[in-house]
Structure formats: C-alpha cells, structure tokens
Amino acid sequence: MADKNLPTDGRFTRLFDHFKREWQIYAMLLPTIVWFIVFLYKPMYGLQIAFKDYSIFRGVAGSPWIGIEHFQTLFGNDQFLRAVSNTIKISALNLLFGFPAPIILALMFNEILHATYKRTAQTIVYLPHFISSVIIAGIVITAFSPTLGIVNIILGWFGLDSIYFLTQPQWFRPIFVGTGIWQEAGFGSIVFLAAIAGVNPSLYESAVVDGANRWQMMWKITIPSILPTILIMLIIRIGNVMEVSFELVILLYQPATYETADVVNTWIYRQGLQSGQYDLAAAGGLFNAVVAFVLVMTANTLSRRFSRTSLW
C-alpha cells in the first residue's frame, strides 16, 4: 500500500477541495443571485419608506423616520379602504364564477368523442390567454361602446336603449369578471384535463360493465378523482385573493367607475406613480404584500397537506 499512512483528509481540506472542484456551479448561480438581490431584494429594503417621510432628494436611507403615520393615514383614507374592499369583492366574484368555469369546461371536453372537434375547440379556447391585456381591453372597449359596440347593437335588436357600460359603476365588475372568464377559462382547463387524463381507465370500464351512464360516471368517478386537483387549485386561488389583475383594471376603469373598480394596486399606482406620494403608496403596498404573504403561506401549508394525492 503506497501511502497508507497518510492522515484522513480534514474538514477544511475537503471544503477547499469542494470549491476548487465545484466552482463552476457557483459561477453559474452567481448572476441569478445578484439579479435577485438587485431587482427583488433591494426593493424590499426600499419598503422602509413606508415608515419614512420620503423625499426623492434624500433617498431611501436619508429620509427621516416617522413611524406608522402613513398607516394611520391609510386606514383613515376612504379611497384606500374602498380599494381594499373592491379588491376582495372582485376576487370573491372571480372565485365564485371564474373558478368553476375551467372545471366545467374540462369535464365537458372529456365528454367529447370527436377528436378533431375537441382539438379545434381546445385550440380556440386556449387562445385568449396569450393575448395582451391591452388588446383585451381594446376589444372590450370596442364591444361595449355605446355607438358601435356589438353589445349595444344586440340590445337595440330587442328595442332596448343603448347603455354606456364602461361609465357605469354597477356594470364594471360583471364586465371585468366576465372578461376574465372569457380569457382564462379555456387555458385554466388544461390542468383539470390533465388530472382527468390521469384517472385509471379501468375505473370507467368497470363502471360501464356495472351499467353506469356517462353522467353518473362524471359524478361518481371523474369528479371524485380530480377532487385533490380542484382543492389545490382552489387553495392557490384563495392565496392570491389580493392579486386582481390590475393591468386590466387600469385599462378598463375611469374616474366614473372608481367606486366599484378601484383596487389596491390601482390605488397605489395613482397615488405613487401618478401623484408622487411614494411613501404613502409604499405603505399601501406593504399592507397588500403582507396580507398576500399571509394568505399565500396559509394556502401553501394547506395545499401541502393535500398534495400527497395530487398532481403537484
């Protein structure tokens, strides 16, 4: 044995060896980590302006601390409170109508036998997901226009007066939620279709032998089988209650509909980016982020509990 007497390698020798041998993976990781620090963690440091009297000239670190004054302002601010309430209401409507839509769609796709028909329909209903919200908004604005909009044209066929939908607060939420369903229901069905595809076919075969019809199989086999997926998607949805797609809100709302349309992020956008009240807006953002964080973490914990039986 040549060098049997060599001592066993020490801890530091091995650590040194490790970095000498594996430096490349650290080099690969570095840009990503730096990017995260610069673009995502540094703004978190900047969140402190929520507790400061921020001025552009003094910068984040130089501005004086003022404690929770902004939060006091915030919770005395009707517009902000309205935005919080609108956010929750729009999310609730989304949950109520937007969540079941892709499940129903997936169940229906599962019943279609004609492969080409099914394929074509799927291709078409997935499409709106890939369309920018600006275009979606453009389509909605055109379609609901009081003069040339197709919706008012149809109302006209029934002898009804034309309505300027987008200026009326009571129409904003139905239009917004409906647009969301139109845009996302198809794409959202993919997850459920995959879950359905994962159901053991022999379950259906034995049901056929037992004399079940398609409707019964849907209720007794398909839906129970995809229930874990439904549950997890639901939990994720609830975790994202604060995330109303505010891009679309900005594009569709106007001062006349703020009453029902203004959500937290659009309020922050106007307050901060349009009016320059950065510190107050950041306080609103921090509130939003903390609530969202708590919701998401709760949702994660819940979904982990169910995830053993799910596709995740």
């Binding site: 044995m1 060098d3 066993t8 020798t13 060896d17």
Partner: protein, 358 residues
C-alpha cells in the same frame, strides 16, 4: 502493488455511517464482483472508487496512486451504469465518442477507435441509430462501448444487467466475461444477483450492512462459506438452515440425528445451525448419508430435476432431486438422505462457520 486497493474505506452521510471500513485489493486484470443485498454498501463502495462519492475516511489507490481527492475524470476509470445513461439526443457513435471529444482526442483517432470497438461489440451496423431505436441488449453494448473506447485502467460496473430480461441477462453475462478475457482490464462489478457474481467473478466480495462478510473465489465461497449470511446468500435455492445441538457424532435436530464425521467429543451440547444445501441430498441411502424424515408439500418440476418443497417438523425446506422423466414418484418421498460430508455447521450465537471435523 498495482490494481485497485481500498484500505479502511469509510463512508458517512452526516452522522450515519453506511460503509464501515472496507479493505480490498483488486489485482491487475482481476474481475472482482461485489455482491450483497440492496443497501449493503456495495454501490456506494463502487461509486467511491469512481469518484462519484467522497471518501469519508480511508485510502483508495489505483496503480499505487492515492485517488481520494482526484476528480473522477482523472482517475482513468470508466463506468457502466445500471440505466446505461446513454444520451438520447446522440446516436450510438456520438455516445461512444462523447468522452473522447471532451478529452480532445483527434477526430481521425476517434473514428478508428469507435470503429474498432463497434466491431468488437457487433455494433457496426447501428452506429447511426439513436438509443431509443435500440434493443435492451444493444443499449447495454453501447454502454460498455462507451467505457471501452476510453481504454481505462479500471472498468466499473454498477448492476449493468438488472434492466434486462432473464434470457438476455444470461447472454450479456457471457459477453461481459468474454470481453474481459479478451481485454484483460481490471474490473469491479456490483450486483445483487448471486448467479451473476458466481459466473463472472475471479473473486467475489460478499457485503452486508456496510461490511465485507467474505472474499474468495466463487467455489471457495460456495464450498466454505464463512458464516450463515454468506451461506444463505450464495446458491439457489438457498441453503436450508435449521437449529440443532451437537452430540458426539451427530447434530441432533428435534428428534432426528444427522450423522456427522469428525471429532465432536469436545463440543457435545453446543448449539449450532445446521446448513444443508438443496443439492446435497439423495433419495437413496448409502454409507455416506444420514436420513431426514420429511413431509412433502409441493413438487416443482424444472425438467431434468425438480424442487421438492417439504417440511421437516415445522421447518420448511427445499431440496433438489432428479426427475428421471416423471415427477409423480417424488410426491411419495417421505425421507431424504443427507450427504454427511457436505453438511455445514455454524455457531448458533455468532453465525460463524464451525470447522470441527478438521
């Protein structure tokens, strides 16, 4: 000393030690098989030789060079993986050339090397194919080809045949052996299959629980297992084991005495485990045998011979017997005759083999 030498090799994951100090010398050109049940540390040991796992303690040398801290690529070893690890996006030739290209071998040389090796392995017609278009046996050959083209000092095999069906496995086993005879490269081969170990090895290393139980040629291990574990692991069906007590010329199992040759006088009353291989019985009594009354449960014909599943008392045992074209008479067998010379004795407490007849 050239070849591969392991001395006091230990592997720990955190506080858990999985290999407890392996000492093994593999001579140049030798074919050594590490065999043992899953989780016995054989694969970990192989991967330490390859450099895929760090060695926690101990020394590894290859051709007298200490390898503990040398990167796998600089150890001059090649490995055949259980799942072959053939790159699906490369054809057979490119798969084999992968390592040579990375090592910047000149193009012309790569081509001749691959052509030579493909010739040896019968892959010449398949060089343009992707792994997905090959049969299991062909993939296995490509995996070996990829190791061979590098002309390494040592071949490492990690359960290379376990993904093949039984028939192909037998065929590839023979091919590996022929290849080794032809190339004469030092080889370390890991398997859980004792038949593979017996047929391929110059020497077998039986491992259990992170330790070496016994090292020896296949026949040494079969004839003289060092302990109950080795005795039970090698041989198919496995050796029958039954508790007994020594008398001065026999082992007493329940009411039955199995005669033994040898000087047992000093060991009367010692508790032992009596090991009887299924093939070490006959149906006819002779001077060299001792009868064992059994109750027949099941006769499984294998063709020229049959497996007799029988009970001796409450103990289930398996024996082999010739069929002579008909198994019906075997159902009536109510006793077998144990060849006394071939009975193994183990200490009931330690499990170590007892050699009391020397």
């Amino acid at each position: 000393m050239s070849g591969v030498n392991l001395s006091g090799i230990v592997k720990s994951y955190g506080a858990v030690q999985v290999v407890h100090g392996i000492d093994l010398d593999v001579a140049e050109k030798e074919f050594v098989v590490l065999v043992g049940p899953s989780g016995c540390g054989k694969s970990t040991t192989l991967r330490m030789i390859a450099g895929l796992e760090e060695i926690t303690a101990g020394d590894l040398t290859i051709d007298d060079k200490r390898m503990n801290r040398i990167a796998p690529k600089d150890r001059d070893v090649a490995m055949v993986f259980q799942n072959y690890a053939l790159y699906p996006h490369l054809n057979v030739a490119d798969n084999m050339a992968f390592g040579l290209r990375i090592r910047k071998m000149p193009k012309a040389e790569i081509q001749t090397t691959i052509a030579d090796v493909a010739e040896i392995l019968g892959l010449t017609d398949y060089l343009e194919r992707r792994p997905a278009d090959l049969s299991g046996g062909q993939r296995q050959r490509v995996a070996m080809g990829r190791a061979i083209v590098r002309h390494p000092k040592v071949f490492l095999f990690d359960e290379p045949l376990s993904n093949l069906d039984a028939k192909l496995r037998t065929q590839m086993r023979a091919e590996i052996k022929r290849l080794h005879n032809r190339l004469g490269v030092t080889s370390v081969y890991v398997t859980h299959d004792q038949v593979e170990a017996m047929t391929l090895a110059d020497r077998i290393v039986v491992m259990n629980d992170g330790r070496i139980e016994q090292i020896g040629t296949p026949m040494e291990l079969f004839n003289d297992p060092a302990n109950i574990f080795v005795a039970g692991f090698l041989g198919s069906p496995p050796m029958n084991m039954v508790n007994g007590v020594l008398t001065k010329n026999s082992a007493k199992i329940g009411a039955t005495e199995v005669k033994l040759n040898g000087a047992l006088a000093n060991h009367v009353g010692r508790e032992v485990v009596v090991g009887i291989r299924p093939e070490h019985v006959t149906l006819k009594a002779s001077a060299k045998t001792s009868p064992l009354p059994i109750t027949m449960d099941l006769v499984e014909p294998l063709g020229s011979e049959a497996l007799l599943h029988a009970r001796f008392g409450k103990q289930e045992m398996v024996f082999k017997a010739e069929t002579k074209g008909d198994i019906a008479p075997l159902w009536n067998v109510d006793k077998v005759h144990v060849t006394t010379d071939l009975v193994k004795l183990f200490d009931a407490q330690t499990g170590q083999a007892l050699n009391l007849r020397g």
